[in-house]
Symmetry: D2
Subunit: 272 residues, 4 copies
């Protein structure tokens, strides 16, 4: 069934001083970059706790009437922040035009959950030769996620990170059901690093810290988190956005689990 997944092995991608797949990675930032000022305000507060800066420029919004991001004008803001704090950046691309704009300047290209089945986009993303962060569709089986990754891997790009972000069920207390059994299963089925995004799964910031701890304890290789300097004022996904101080506390707990259970060091200094 799979020609490009190697259970028993473990991929490691070097990026600046991070070894993704080996070092535990915290990727955090605003759901949507709203302005240069907002981006700098939030990253300035969280950079010590973050290995990778995330920031959405092109937002796939269910309604055509919703805020859809600042677009390409934000690329330079992100690269400036990236250089200032020496942190790589992850941004989502929704189509080939966006891929062409992002690939020269952005370290990691995110394929969002809604595009996991968009095979032409996967092939085009692969061709950028960037690291691809591939999110599981909220109705995708584990096997469909692995096959979507295979669409990238067969194009000759081995640098794929899988990301679990919750599946759609009947439950309404949470936005999606974070499927950590899938994380455990994926670790047996593939060599690729596996991140977890509890922000989208929870849909509520108060549920994000326990799910972050659970994801790390389940064996995730990284977390993808939405943080906003003032969640109540966020233009998108405010209810699920963490404050900078919540992120710091998550890092404290992540450190405890990594060192206590996995003998790993996150290299995040929470005394900062």
């Amino acid at each position: 069934m799979y020609e490009k997944h190697y259970p028993g092995h473990k991929s490691v991608f070097k990026l600046n001083d991070i070894a993704i797949g080996e070092d535990f990675v915290i990727a955090a930032g605003p759901c949507a970059v709203e302005s240069e000022q907002q981006l700098k305000a939030v990253i300035n507060q969280i950079y010590p706790y973050v290995h990778v800066v995330r920031g959405g420029l092109f937002k796939a919004r269910t309604s055509p009437h919703a805020f859809s991001g600042v677009g390409s004008s934000g690329i330079d803001w992100l690269t400036e922040v990236s250089q200032k704090y020496d942190k790589p950046v992850v941004v989502e691309a929704l189509d080939r035009e966006q891929l062409a704009l992002l690939a020269p300047k952005i370290d990691i290209i995110q394929i969002g959950a809604r595009n996991m089945y968009n095979y032409p986009l996967l092939a085009a993303a692969a061709a950028t030769e960037r690291i691809i962060l591939l999110k599981r569709h909220f109705a995708a089986t584990v096997d469909e996620l692995l096959l979507a990754a295979e669409h990238i891997l067969t194009q000759g790009n081995p640098n794929v990170i899988l990301c679990e972000r919750g599946i759609r069920t009947f439950e309404t207390r949470t936005r999606n059901c974070l499927d950590l059994g899938a994380v455990a299963a994926l670790k047996q089925l593939t060599h690729l690093p596996i991140f977890v995004d509890p922000s989208h799964a929870a849909g509520d910031a108060s549920l994000v810290p326990p799910l972050c701890r659970a994801a790390v304890a389940a064996g995730a290789d990284g977390l993808l988190l939405e943080v906003h300097q003032a969640p109540a004022k966020a233009l998108s996904d405010g209810p699920q956005s963490l404050t900078p101080s919540q992120l710091k506390q998550i890092c404290v707990d992540v450190n405890a689990i990594l060192s206590g259970v996995f003998c790993r060091d996150s290299r995040i200094n929470v005394e900062f």
Copy 2:
């Protein structure tokens, strides 16, 4: 929430001598066009029972190793068949390049379930000014389907057909669960015509005829069906493909329900 849906009204799109939304429509043909010969063999057997010819040229396959269609070479075969039998054609497009190839020659552009959330593709499809057949993603709510349609409608293209094709649940006896409650709900929520594709929902040809009858009885405006002259030899979706004679029997039953319940005439002469 919706700016472009008009419950209480009913859209009608004229296409050759069909009035979609007013006349009941049977769109049928092979899941994948496999060759010129195969296309002609199957259409030659089913054209009397079909208002629209369907045929897949570019197949979105979960595995990159599966048959992915004959591609653009099939366009001329389809237009030839279209002219010979005076039947419009529906073909799925997976990306902008395919849209550009199909739009000049194909009457109805299908956006498949996997691309329902691919908003840039929806906008590009809208711009072709063709009729768009928009399939519900197998994990999309009714409201997300209506909003996906709104992505097309707000681009100035009013010619959208919605298509229910089954949702993903825990049940494994059928491939997907055909959601006819959604069809009934959609008829209250929008003016757009609503088709049903029981082939993908069932995943098994023996279940397709009862689901066709059910869809018509629930009020569907059309059916989208996979038919193959030799299902056991089909390169894709063989198990759910109908034979030409099964299609004919479905038309007999559709006629009975349309006339008995809705006082409509399908204008399909099953005495042929």
Copy 3:
């Protein structure tokens, strides 16, 4: 896997002048019997369109604070109605005590969806030697429903009617998703009659008529419907309860489909 299901055969249970499994059956009445007066008011309006009277006496309510039925005092009201109009009655039992009260006087014992996995109750119901109407749990697979029936059949009671009433999915526009693919599959897998309850699936009376038509067209052997003489005043399930005149119109459509597609006569005279 199954020792007591005989695909290819068809069970028929005689009850008064009905042959369940052979004749199409409409079982209708109030979700909950609220009073003697209310029961008579509704049945008096609908008896010509009904083969079996349904009426809930013991309601399994999700909240312990909700109305839970009039209890055993309603048994005599139902038997009186039953005799007056010469219609058999179906009532749900939630435990053994209720089974003991109902079995001597009630023709068909309903095991509700919430109790499909309650195997001691299934065995006790089987022992009453009554016809058992076994509803599919809203999260049960087709195979689990067949095995639940097998729990009854292996106790020596062959008189089991299966009933599809919708499964729980992510969709919120309908209360449950009526799974007519399961009905089609069940007809291939068992000899038992299969009823459909669109009222619980829809959760909204305006969606019930199209789902009734769809169920009949899919091949159901009967319908289980909630009717109330004044739905807005119902103590339970008002929003999904039909009015008597809606029920009559459903019978008109059922007749058309039965005669047009299945060459069957429902023996309901809608000219009444």
Copy 4:
């Protein structure tokens, strides 16, 4: 909506030297007690790592042809083990007769997932005045679980433990999807202790250890685990049963998370 849940408070039930809700609890033992010898063999190997002994006597089996437990003859074996090692015992009851047999001798009565909606059984269980371990049905919402607990609480029995054990989704790599977001949500909505059963959710022993760690990290108050001295020979649920040595390693990890994140001591000495 709730009259008997007190968010912000935390229930603590004393049982021997355990304070459920305050101390972290590991409840483990065989899915089904198969014989006196088997019970003693497995408990003899795991008692140092276990606060509560679990052992199924009456098994609700989907098929009537499957092994359904040793029944009441196992009660004395369990009480003997309980006294020998000074550990309380939890056993599931499927009906009132079993409740009457278990209540005089068993410390904690389990209501299984299949019976969460069996309200007469909940009321009867409440009346035993024992601690009730109430498992979430695999299709129950968080609110339905809280209301099921309310059925017990309103009967005057305040000693209810909730247990998440996975929900049914489309995914097939795991048997059910362990819903730790529900655990996090429950901790905000009720004062009751919340246990997690990863064995049933995973359906595969190799996935149980990461899910145990995740559950503890998410804030669970206890774990319910299936352990067998020879899983390959188990009469039920063998594939998901842990070996004694796997259980010990889980305790090592649980200790690390409890002390590192929650400053709690499990009081399990894994040096044993």
